[in-house]
Symmetry: C2
Subunit: 291 residues, 2 copies
């Protein structure tokens, strides 16, 4: 009998649960609003009780605990999201469904999906950066998810301020880190409350945003040397950003490292909203084969 695989892309706004067959055809998919665990997770449990699977990949909003030696491995940790702080996500799943799991971040699964089926297909490494309400990054290195004592938090790296930027920054921890300067709320606050999609494409603010994103690409390149840097998320749908980012990246790098051609290196995601679910399903298949 053909095996089925499960995926949960657990986002701050909605959960997407999906089931696929061995050829990665998605058979069922459901969206569940992210409210409180008692509501959201009840629906998740119901979905996978009705649609049993052999293995599951979970990509969760964070911060999460991915350290297998930790007492809180599998938990969502210190999120401000009501009811989810210190929620034992993986433990609650395991208690109901005794199957192999891959447990990682929403951006790591998206990176994996893009590597295997999207913009970085054929490569062994990539960075996936989502720029939206927040800024988060995941990565694949040598074909495997980038994890260490915990997971990356690439959205909070240090930047050099743009000389024309008076905006103080939106991050409650670091003020003018990357997320503090280029998240959707930061872009709106800098532009006196105008929504990002209402700011003219040729406004100087986009040059400021691109300058910071170029710095991020530079640091990711210098530290990780990924074969692709892939952008997802609402802000990165502003396509006028890409030529600006590439130009600033080129100037900042100043010929020091020869990267892949920038049009092929700093790119928009291929899979769109499916990157995360695709990554989850692929990881579920792989863990099942290993088990």
């Amino acid at each position: 009998m053909s095996k089925l695989y499960g995926a949960i892309e657990a986002g701050g706004t909605k959960f997407v649960c999906a089931v696929c067959d061995e050829d990665l055809n998605i058979i069922k998919r459901v969206k569940i609003p992210t409210t409180v665990p008692a509501e959201t997770m009840t629906e998740v449990f119901k979905f996978f009780t009705e649609n049993p699977v052999s293995a599951m990949g979970i990509g969760s909003f964070g911060p999460i605990d991915i350290n297998r030696n930790s007492a809180t491995y599998g938990y969502i940790t210190n999120t401000p999201k009501k009811g989810w702080a210190n929620y034992n996500f993986l433990g609650e799943m395991k208690a109901r469904f005794d199957i192999p799991y891959v447990w990682t971040t929403d951006v790591n699964v998206a990176a994996y999906g893009e590597l295997k089926r999207g913009a970085a297909q054929g490569e062994d490494s990539c960075v996936y950066l989502t720029v939206g309400t927040g800024v988060g990054g995941g990565a694949v290195v040598n074909g495997k998810l980038l994890e260490g004592f915990g997971h990356p938090e690439m959205g909070h790296i240090i930047l050099k301020r743009h000389p024309n930027d008076k905006y103080k920054g939106h991050c409650p921890y670091h003020h003018d880190c990357l997320e503090g300067m280029v998240s959707g709320p930061a872009i709106e606050a800098r532009h006196h409350g105008v929504k990002a999609y209402d700011i003219p494409k040729d406004d100087e603010d986009w040059q400021i945003v691109a300058y910071y994103l170029a710095q991020a690409c530079l640091d990711y390149t210098l530290i990780l040397s990924p074969e692709k840097i892939i952008f997802g998320g609402g802000v990165s749908k502003q396509s006028q950003l890409f030529p600006l980012i590439r130009q600033d990246f080129k100037e900042l790098m100043n010929g020091y490292i020869k990267t892949p051609a920038l049009d092929d290196y700093i790119v928009h995601c291929d899979l769109g909203d499916d990157a995360g679910i695709t990554g989850c399903l692929l990881l579920a298949q792989e863990i099942e084969k290993k088990s």
Copy 2:
């Protein structure tokens, strides 16, 4: 018959060649000044002709080409060092000794040595940063050398300037990147030509250097989540730096991520000058077993 393994730690000042047995006991070791390839490599070839080995690990000064799909894989690339630019290091070795090789950077092999036998023993990941005449970083992720389209160049990441620092920076490419602000020559130039080891331990300049190194540790943590950050190189022998780096790191992180305890996280290397050779020999053993 017992097998022997070879190592070349190819530095900008000297090459160290070594041979070990299966238990990693170093049987022979030689230091060769780095002059021009015709001189230095002749000595290297002679050493390994007289001391044949079954496999070899090479950690080279860079930049080098580690991309197996590249026509110049195995080359030292655009170094200003006379005679070494576009030198086919690995090719010249292979032409003389038909054995399996691991070819990577001097800092990657040091990271690997420290992971397996030094400060990061028992871990799966670490960053190794050398701060001396230049600044370079290597890393291990999921137990494997961190490589992508090329190798990391962590010494050139972007920094926020210290408010009291008037020094313009020493990097010919980026001026005030990490290497531009904390390399030995930068520290001396900031202090009007006084050698780093003659600058008083309580001078404010050390606070400035520590502030930049703390920023580097922060970005490495946010991007790589390594289990240890290990310092080597001449500048990092200034032990007064470590408490300052840890304090600045704590302030910059501002509680956002819970890292390992900082006294165990941001540390000096254990193996000293043997980190690179140890990494080379371990990598030689591993590649031989796989071949």
